[in-house]
Amino acid sequence: MSRRLRPATIALPVGAALWAWAAYALWNATHLPSLDLPQLDAHRYFSDSFLERSADYELFLGFLGLIGSIALVTVLVLYAWHGPRLVRESAAGRVGTGMLLAMLGFAVVWLAELPFDLLGLWWQRRHDVSHEGYLRHLLFGFLGLGGTFVFLCLGIGIMMGLAGVMRRWWWLAAVPAFVALGLLSAFLSPYLIPGTEPLHKPALEQEARTLERIEGTGESRLRVQEVHEFTDAPNAETVGLGPTTTIVLWDTLLDGDFSPAEVRFVVAHEIGHVAHDDVLKRVGWLALFLLPALGLTAYLTRRRGGLAQPEAIPVAILVLAVTQLLAAPLLNTAFRREEAAADWAALEATREPTAAKASFRRLATKSLSDPDPPFWIDGLYGNHPTTMERIAMAEAWEAPAR
């Protein structure tokens, strides 16, 4: 006797296939030449003492992150179990109470991660990577929690509001809502970065404009962020969308340690991100992550009455945190590919592999970053290719040019 197929039974494989196709398409949207990267010996580029020191440094932070993640999951499991009791601390309605439970969940996580966070800061200070004081770190962390809560309440408001109307299928509407929020957040992000000012280096700005023409992008805003009070580590990032696209250079990159050619390469790398629409791609990856994560959340919160009920919020936080931890290595793989593509674009634009290699070495030495970290650290936390992989790419670019 043939059984009738339920719509969900058909929808699930079709949805999974569509999801896989979208992920494949997004992966392939980043073009990277197939390179046979040479296996380089890190000792040729870095001193023995640096390699030993950076390996120690990263290994400690890697283990700390791992223990922190275990603590996070443990705390969230306990919170999923006991959290619903906190409903009595609310005089708000259904959604307001859900917001309170979500905020308290994050607050508890913040508390649980605090020892690891402080230990990490101590380690960074010990290695002169960070100069931030403990009290300031604590205070800003605590106040930063308030900012996090604002966005958290917005997210919970959307999810619970939709769950109240759409019941089991709220997550299908929540994904586009969060993607829209992600786009808005990406659009506004340049205005949310503290302590930035316009780049007052006409020569570098001129070079950036030239590189933008070469890489085929429009003009981005160039800004400098003051971070030298807290760290010596150099960095740069591309934020914003369309008219708000901004390249932010940390002032530690412009303090004279990096040569003009090295800074030029870093700027070219960031312009590469602009040329490849990487900010948009990140939103795409967010959408791809959210779809199964929210679907799973909807499924696993049913026993607590569905996400429309505040008692389900602690479980929802646990599910989202665990899926995020599990998805991180996969997402990092995609991000590493985007970074590698930006490196390649910068090499093509500047045609200065020597400067590229020098900038990679300096970025590593100033951040005390292990040039060739263990596989598990790279897989879990590495959202850029390793320094040795980046140097190898520069060598590979150089090889045919010879």
Binding site: L86, R88, E89, S90, A91, A92, G93, V95, G96, T97, M99, L100, M103, L104, A107, V108, F142, L143, L145, G146, G147, F149, V150, L152, C153
Partner: protein, 420 residues
């Protein structure tokens, strides 16, 4: 034990009011000189009490007289009382304190009295003020720049008394509350008692009027506090503060429209009254939560009957157009007092945070002081936003049921004596 007695008839003689600060000057100089002696005696008293477990009677009496006389002088200066206090504490005074003879005290609390008194002194700072008027006006001054309740009461009371020949009961009672708390705090610090001063305005000055203002506060809080939400209270209130700011922008527009409409029609439009009432209720819920006067996390819509610290706003009624026209100017003194009560709320929250974290309870005195501040602030805002034409009552009072007539100011003496 310290007893506070209030026996003032609210009548003020205009000539002495006009020259009050100058007339009080010799007394203030005398307080200063006496204060030097009191400081020395306090140190000796501390050592003696630490050794004997009880203050020597002579030293106790000297310091008690100093606290009593200081209360008289400040009551006179800030118009909480009318008769000239003279230069000794011999005579009974309308605003008076009575300090009992020395009793045995716990040596540990004696040893650490200065530290233990810090929270009380913080409240004294807000109620009594620290830094003079000149300091406050001088931008280069290093002194703290806030007036205490006493200074503000003195200034506002001066104008009122000059115009009407009497002191409004609300302001007088606020000053009495500040003086009462100050006397108890100093008595505690100077080892005249080991009873920690209570900041409860409902028990500070004796019998209080029972009022039923158009804007009244109902407190149904059980003093229990959740340690977790107390610890993260500021961060948890962030989303509310953002929402309140957004709502406030709209409320500002509605308030402007309401002002024109009330001016034209003599009464607020129903929709504006409801909207602004809800906004004010929400603001009050958030204040109560943020400053630890209430425990539960409030909702985001200001719904009535949802919070244990709840403001009730009467239905709209006809208002005098002249007072509507000049409402912003008329509300100015009340809004200045609101800023002062804001300082009190901040101190309440600061001290309540530690108390709530360690004991999972809010001390009754602090909670009531916070509720008092919230009640006044909400009344002032309601007056400013034309939700009522009743001027906010600045004194501590009991809240009566709705419909009870607001008592007229009582010109008769109000004898009161209360153990604390």
């Amino acid at each position: 034990m310290v007893r506070f007695a209030l026996n003032d008839d609210l009548q003020r003689r205009r000539p002495t009011v006009f020259f009050r600060a100058l007339i009080a000057l010799p007394c203030l100089i005398w307080v200063g000189i006496w204060g030097i002696g009191a400081a020395l005696v306090a140190v000796i008293n501390w050592v003696a009490t630490l050794i004997r477990g009880k203050s020597p009677a002579t030293l106790h009496e000297f310091l008690a007289k100093y606290v009593r006389y200081t209360t008289h002088v400040y009551a006179y200066l800030y118009l909480a009382a009318d008769p000239f206090p003279g230069f000794s504490d011999d005579r009974a005074y309308p605003v008076d304190v009575e300090i009992e003879p020395p009793a045995r005290q716990n040596r540990w609390t004696v040893a650490f009295r200065l530290v233990l008194a810090v929270p009380a002194l913080l409240i004294v700072g807000v109620l009594g003020g620290s830094g003079s008027l000149l300091d406050a006006l001088n931008e280069s001054s290093e002194s703290p720049r806030f007036f205490g309740a006493l200074v503000v009461v003195g200034v506002f009371g001066w104008f009122y008394a000059m115009a009407r020949g009497r002191m409004p009961r609300g302001l007088r009672d606020l000053a009495a509350y500040a003086l009462s708390y100050g006397a108890r705090a100093w008595a505690y610090l100077l080892l005249l008692t080991d009873r920690y001063p209570s900041s409860d305005p409902l028990t500070a000055i004796g019998p209080l009027p029972t009022r039923s203002d158009p804007v009244r506060l109902e407190v149904a809080d059980d003093l229990r506090r959740s340690r977790l939400t107390v610890f993260f209270r500021l961060a948890l209130a962030f989303p509310h503060l953002v929402w309140l700011a957004l709502w406030g922008l709209l409320a500002l527009l509605v308030a402007i429209v309401n002002w024109f409409a009330t001016l034209a029609m003599g009464t607020s439009p129903g929709w504006a009254h409801r909207f602004l009432s809800r906004y004010l209720r929400y603001q009050q819920h958030v204040s109560a939560f943020l400053y630890l006067v209430g425990n539960p996390f409030p909702g985001f819509v200001g719904a009535s009957g949802t919070y244990p610290i709840e403001i009730h706003i009467a239905e709209r009624r006809r208002q005098n157009r002249w007072t509507v026209l000049f409402r912003a100017i008329l509300a100015l003194p009340a809004l200045i007092l609101t800023a002062l009560f804001g300082q009190l709320l901040a101190v309440v929250a600061f001290l309540g945070w530690f108390a709530g974290l360690f004991t999972a309870r809010m001390p009754l005195g602090l909670r009531n002081a916070g509720a008092y501040a919230i009640r006044y602030s909400t009344q002032a805002n309601a007056y400013f936003l034309l939700l009522t034409d009743s001027y906010p009552y600045s004194g501590p009072c009991h809240e009566g049921p709705p419909g009870l007539p607001v008592p007229a100011p009582d010109p008769r003496p109000v004898p009161a004596s209360l153990d604390v």
